[in-house]
Amino acid sequence: MGELLLLLLSTALVNNVVLIKFLGLCPVMGVSKSMDGALGMGLATTFVITLAAGASWVLENWLLAPLGLGYLRILTFILVIAAVVQFTEMFIRKSSPGLYQSLGIYLPLITTNCAVLGVALLNVDQKFGLFRSLLYGFGSALGFTLVLLVFAGLRERVALARVPAAFAGAPIAFVTISLLALAFMGFSGLNVQEVSP
């Protein structure tokens, strides 16, 4: 149990997908103007990443590996991810038109969110079981959502600040997220392996 928790923490914080691995920066910069939108995006991405992690494990272990089709990995993963994203988009459009509007182009772009494919591929490299794969995906997605939310909170505050014209908008967002990444370096080397067997 403790080990699983540590796996979750390690994927969410220590090896944060956004700030340490620099994956999925596009939606982080794009959908972090308000915390509500960020939460929606975070949830959608969490759904997609977790599902994609599970699906990719199934594909890898039941289809690609037995048939020796490792070279088709990226292709099949993208296929699955695109389908999951398409489904998510339909679902959000139906259930929450406002969120659909505010996520805009970034919703279909989850497909090309490198965090999704990245996590799926990294996951396969870890040679986990199905449950841990799901957990790895979920933890990474949690880290993504956490950073997205925190960053959105910071941007909401910065939006109210008297930022000089030269830095207003995207520049100050980059400065902010770089400082956030600096803060996350505090987690680097966090020795979770020592406790886990």
């Binding site: 103007k33 509500d36 594909l59 289809l63 089709l69 296929l79 459009r93």
Partner: protein, 175 residues
């Protein structure tokens, strides 16, 4: 090779079926947002926004080709409501802050030609032929349709004078 082709085909077909089913069950008819935004608009179809009527403006705003501030009669109130609904950031200061305006008739110039009352989208101008016309303050939206038509330039837009109960404390300067 055959395994690869088969597995990809199978996978594609499977996902296609799933998405097809989802499309049936999660279908959204039309764009509910356009109707919602349209319900917020004044509905007088005055045309100041440059779109054919309020429904056209609503569609344009939702599509992003028009700013939420495009409706002068709706003013800041409408812009804020629309922007809030769409989750857009909108610069309300872009709206000229000279306050609402309404049309007024210069009585010494009016010849009672009735051209103005025909185009008023809210029937705010009253007056019979060859009689001096008058503008109902409560009904006028300040759309200026009548101003251009008046042959004697008797119609002018005037700012609504401030009154004690409607006075608004100005925003602090600087700071």
């Amino acid at each position: 090779m055959i395994a690869a082709v088969l597995s990809l085909t199978l996978l594609g077909a499977l996902l296609g079926v799933v998405l097809g089913c989802a499309d049936r069950f999660l279908r959204v008819e039309g764009n509910p947002l356009v109707d919602e935004i349209g319900a917020l608009m004044p509905g007088s179809n005055c045309g100041q926004c440059g779109f054919p009527g309020c429904a056209g403006a609503a569609a344009a705003i939702v599509a992003g080709s028009a700013a939420p501030t495009c409706c002068p009669p709706g003013g800041k109130a409408l812009a804020a409501a629309v922007a809030g609904r769409l989750g857009l950031a909108v610069d309300l200061s872009a709206l000229a802050d000279d306050g609402p305006q309404i049309a007024g008739v210069a009585e010494e110039l009016c010849i009672g030609c009735c051209r103005c009352s025909k185009v008023c989208p809210t029937d705010a101008i009253v007056g019979a032929a060859k009689q001096i016309h008058n503008v109902l303050r409560e009904a006028c939206t300040g759309c200026a349709n009548c101003v251009d038509l008046c042959p004697t330039e008797a119609l002018l837009l005037q700012p609504v004078p401030p009154t004690l109960p409607h006075w608004v404390m100005p925003k602090p300067l600087g700071a």
